[in-house]
């Protein structure tokens, strides 16, 4: 291949020259070039190495279908593997390097695989490396080398410095593809006043018109159309944007490459933008991709798609070869051949068809082309680039007749027909229909909210494409008129792309899938072995599974299989297209939902104080909560033990704003509560609160919390932090579906109320002083609440204890939360009040034997948790029937106990329990749910679920942490370690 840049023509800006790097070589290029056209113009023969055999490869295409020219683009933290050179717009300073080649692109050691290719046929790995002995060592030894050899580009471990954004959009009509049909559709729809989005993956509008010679009539039309579109305020044109996926309900995903065409994004601009478009209807005008022909050594650099060679000529002013053999089976190659001849190349057309349309033949001959009807290329000669082609007279089935003739050439272009780009349609609707005449799969023109126009539906001419688009857009305004060539794609096609010797073999390797090195022989072998369904063929040979997802290979593979099976193509089937249409950067689809913004963070209104006072925070679902407040030099263990002891001795406060809170209001609120809680709520008087437990519908424990009766029809329910949303949604479900007769409203008030627990023997003193009210047992006994005013803020004070100490829960209008917290801190000084965190709160509740999330793990019952006594026998409630299923009533189930660890060290939660002399294997007799050092008992204690637990008090058992390689002995005791009679909390 001896490509060169022509001195005139093309759609490049010759006034702006840039330098790009590839394989340590500099190439000069112009704005408007792609890396692909720059490499071609610079005479770069080899642009990549294939996946399996590391064969040297050149450019095949000029667009998204390029399968060989994959490069490493940019460097450092902007490094990007597997970039298609044909889709990379040049910019000054562009750097790119070859990939999948070692030590160099020109000489790649991996190419030795190619010498052994006869042994690396389809299914190679399935048949080898099985190993002489059991186990996987043998395979895994070889697998390391295989993985290194495979894999194409190299990823990075650096953080991406660029940012991405998402935009939600809505429109009446989404038009994908701004070729002639798409533009015509956009014009018509835009004139009608529809809200239109027109999407074009290219930098410029025009589609196939950009491959017409510059300065022709289509340029005038294109310029007028573009001007009109930009004048229509209801039409949004998105260039450099790919519609990658068509999803349910007319939702499309697009990627706009906002700043990829420059060296680094400008400040404030995203590198790429992810559009989610919801449209009422969609017009697909996605065009078609040319199909290669398959013959011996068709992968040598210098075998290219005819349409690509034409694009390079007319759009980029690069003449790809001097002596060109054009191999075709249809009309569409003729215009390109003539233009190439007129540009100074010596051209031979090998047309597989014996009858060539007279006018085409005449035009070709007039241009000095050597036209050989009935001929095809049998084999290409050349190592790193094409040197000659053997052409031969063939039967209508593509089999050689007689002797072949050598034609010296530097470029072979192929044109095996066209494959409509029906990916989006197929993603949405599945299998398309086969069209015999065009030898391809076509979508129907209309289906649901989708209209397909232009080359996508095999439109016979440019004029038809324009009219289809015009009509699809609503047919408003002047019909677009633009005459194209008589050889519009797909005309008079002879449906044969595989050229063989008379015996059906090829005199060399004939490739179907270039990137994955799938040869005709592989398909033949797959057939031989029975992998004949199209999906088996694909998976067994990996044809169509490369980064181009079979854009050029699928139909040829299918055609071969259909020949082998003696069936037509539709009977063999087609594979399903999946999104994305072309690969999409992961970061693009993530946008700003990353790093600390991966998920929203939920903060108590007191959070600022915790932060300013050195609290270590911990995640609890979406919440951040104070874990502990380390004094200087303290670790977590010292801190929580100190905090917990302090509560028992003096008084502590803890931020419990994260508790779920639900207002339950209405005349039937009591009845509702009575149904969702296992215990009775009908008798709860105003001014009191009650601890309640909920079950799931299947009878397992779901959640617990206290509910206060604020007024006749007004209740305040609290839930665990973790289950707040579920409890509310479940309540709404019951009320809106099953219990529609109950007049109850439930509303989340979690955010309305900040909450602080004040615990410890001196808690009453602090609160009484601060609120200026009598809080004695007579005035405010346990499980009662009262309204208090602190710092002029009306709050509600519940007498409730989680710690087992004399304790209160103060509910404060949220926006005043921090103020009241600080007021408590100030008022607490004489009482030695200290804040405590989640870890100390955990220690206190374990000492008291209260359950929490580690015990309510979705698999425990009331009985398991020692809470059977709460269940009312006088009423039905959610879960009341299924909780009685036999397995749940089994007396040998693990149930809640306390453990006193013998010795000085703390056991670990998640350890398993075994009887003293029992072997430590199997599932054990139970497990440890929570551990702590108990400052009150001066012991390491634990909560655990142990088989027949409550019958085993006093027994010593083994506590085994296998992964921590530690075993403890522990005494089984009641889980009510601390103050079981409740003197402290009721005092």
């Amino acid at each position: 291949m001896t490509a060169r840049r022509l001195t005139t023509g093309g759609r490049i800006d010759r006034s702006l020259s840039v330098t790009v790097q590839f394989d340590q070589r500099s190439f000069s290029a112009h704005l408007g070039d792609t890396l692909g056209s720059a490499l071609l113009a610079g005479g770069q023969q080899i642009v990549g190495r294939s996946f399996k055999y590391h064969r040297p490869r050149g450019l095949v295409a000029a667009g998204v279908e390029e399968t060989n020219a994959l490069v490493h683009l940019r460097e450092g933290d902007r490094h990007e593997p597997n970039a298609q050179a044909t889709m990379v717009e040049v910019f000054d300073g562009l750097t790119s390097t070859p990939q999948n080649a070692w030590p160099s692109l020109q000489f790649d050691a991996g190419a030795v695989n190619g010498l052994m290719s006869r042994f690396f046929g389809a299914g190679f790995y399935y048949k080898t490396f099985i190993g002489p002995f059991g186990g996987t060592k043998f395979w895994m030894f070889w697998e390391r080398f295989i993985r290194k050899a495979a894999g194409m580009g190299r990823g990075t471990t650096l953080r991406d410095p660029d940012h991405y954004e998402k935009i939600n959009a809505f429109c009446d009509v989404l038009i994908v593809g701004a070729g002639p049909a798409g533009i015509a559709a956009a014009l018509a729809a835009g004139r009608r006043g529809d809200n239109v989005i027109l999407v074009e993956q290219d930098r410029d509008l025009g589609g196939s018109l950009l491959s017409e010679p510059a300065g022709g009539p289509s340029d005038v039309w294109l310029a007028q159309a573009a001007a009109e579109l930009s004048d229509l305020p209801n039409v949004r044109v998105l260039r450099r944007t790919t519609a990658f996926g068509a999803y349910d309900c007319e939702v499309f995903g697009l990627v706009e490459r906002v700043q990829d065409h420059i060296r680094a994004p400008e400040k404030g601009k995203p590198r790429q933008r992810y559009w989610v478009v919801r449209t009422k209807r969609a017009i697909l005008a996605t065009g078609a991709i040319e199909r290669p022909m398959v013959f011996a050594d068709n992968d040598v650099s210098g075998v290219m798609l005819t349409s690509a060679v034409r694009t390079y000529l007319n759009r980029y002013a690069v003449l790809a070869g001097e002596r060109i053999v054009v191999a075709t089976n249809n009309d569409s190659a003729y215009t390109a051949a003539i233009e190439l001849a007129n540009s100074g190349a010596r051209v031979t057309i090998c047309d597989l068809r014996r009858e060539v349309p007279a006018q085409l033949g005449e035009n070709a001959r007039k241009a000095g082309i050597d036209l050989r009807p009935g001929h095809a290329v049998l084999k290409v000669v050349g190592g790193k680039c094409v040197k000659a082609a053997y052409v031969v007279y063939v039967t209508p089935e593509g089999k050689a007749v007689g002797r072949s003739l050598r034609i010296d050439c530097d470029l072979v272009t192929v044109s095996g027909g066209w494959t409509p780009t029906l990916h989006l349609w197929s993603q949405r609707f599945g299998k398309p229909q086969y069209d015999r005449q065009l030898d391809t799969f076509l979508p129907p023109a209309e289906r649901g909210a989708f209209t397909c126009v232009g080359s996508l539906v095999g439109s016979p001419s440019l004029k038809d494409s324009l009219l289809q688009g015009h009509k699809a857009g609503g047919g408003i305004g002047k019909e677009p008129a633009l005459l194209g060539h008589a050889d519009f794609w797909g005309r008079n096609l002879a449906p044969v792309t595989v050229i063989t010797k008379a015996d059906g073999s090829t005199p060399g390797k004939a490739f179907v899938d270039f990137q994955h090195d799938v040869k005709l022989a592989d398909i033949d072998q797959a057939h031989l072995e029975g992998y004949v369904s199209v999906e088996h063929l694909k998976r067994y040979t990996t044809s169509g599974m490369a980064t181009d997802q079979g854009k050029t290979s699928n139909l040829n593979a299918l055609a071969r299989m259909s020949t082998l099976r003696g069936m037509d193509i539709p009977s063999v089937g087609t594979t399903t297209f999946r999104p994305p249409y072309t690969p999409v950067a992961l970061g693009t689809l993530v946008g700003h939902d990353r790093d600390r913004h991966l998920r929203a963070i939920r903060l108590s209104t007191i959070h600022g104080w915790h932060e300013e006072n050195g609290a270590e925070m911990i995640d609890a679902g979406l919440w951040l909560r104070p874990w502990y407040y380390p004094a200087s030099g303290e670790g977590i263990n010292e801190a929580y033990i100190r905090e917990a002891s302090h509560v028992r001795k003096h008084v502590g406060i803890v931020d419990i704003s994260t508790l779920g809170k639900i207002a339950v209001q209405g005349p039937d609120a009591a009845e509702f509560l009575n149904r969702v809680y296992v215990n009775g709520f009908k008798t709860l008087p105003t001014g009191k609160l009650r601890y309640g437990i909920m079950l799931r519908e299947d009878g397992f424990v779901f959640d617990d919390g206290a509910t206060a009766r604020l007024g006749e029809n007004d209740y305040f329910m609290s839930t665990t932090t973790a289950n707040a949303a579920k409890v509310l949604a479940n309540a709404e479900h019951l009320l809106q579906t099953a219990w529609r007769d109950l007049r109850v409203h439930v509303t989340s008030v979690t955010d309305q109320w900040a909450a602080i627990a004040i615990a410890g023997p001196k808690s009453r003193g602090v609160l009484a002083a601060l609120a200026g009210v009598d809080l004695s047992n007579e005035v405010l006994p346990s499980n009662h609440f009262t309204h208090v005013t602190i710092a002029e803020v009306a709050c509600r004070l519940h007498r409730m204890s989680f710690s087992g100490e004399l304790a209160y829960e103060l509910f404060i209008p949220a926006k005043r939360g921090r103020e009241i917290w600080e007021a408590l801190i100030a008022a607490g000084v004489p009482y030695n009040l200290r804040p405590y965190g989640l870890e100390a709160m955990g220690a206190l509740r374990i000492e008291k034997g209260h359950i929490a999330g580690s015990e309510i793990d979705g698999r425990t019952t009331l009985k398991d948790l020692g809470l059977e006594g709460f269940a009312s026998t006088k009423k039905q409630f959610v879960g009341s029937v299924l909780r009685k299923r036999p397995v749940l009533e089994d007396p040998s189930r693990p149930s809640l106990v306390g453990l006193e660890i013998i010795g000085d060290s703390s056991a670990r939660a998640g350890s398993l329990l075994f009887a003293m002399n029992a072997p430590t294997k199997g599932h054990g007799e139970g497990w440890v749910s929570a551990v702590t050092y108990s400052p009150a008992l001066k012991k390491n204690i634990a909560l655990a679920l142990l088989a027949r637990g409550p019958q085993r008090f006093g027994e010593t058992i083994q506590v085994v942490d296998f992964v921590g390689n530690e075993t403890w002995q522990a005494k089984v005791v009641s889980h009510h370690f601390f103050d079981p009679e409740g003197h402290h909390q009721n005092g």
Binding site: Y247, D248, C249, E250, V251, V276, R278, R675, E697, D698, A729, E732, H733, L734, Q736, T737, A738, W739, R740, Q876, F877, V881, L882, K884, R885
Partner: protein
Amino acid sequence: MLRIYCPVCGLRDETEFTYGEDATVRRPDISETDPKVWHEYVFIRENPRGRHKEYWHHVAGCRQWIVVERDTLTHEMFGSFLAREVTV
């Protein structure tokens, strides 16, 4: 992505909703004590391939539970109603 019509708020993205369950499954009366009936309700599903009436909760919107009829094979939607107004 599904687009679900909420009778209160209009046509919205699926992400504003959470899925409930088969809306033709009727919760037994609270006084029902037969475990078989509850077993059916909690565990057994028709799971049709085709039209399916199902609950969705417009959790980020009006917080109404709605009944949507949808084809589980094609994801085509056939209309939606407030759960409390539906007699399933």
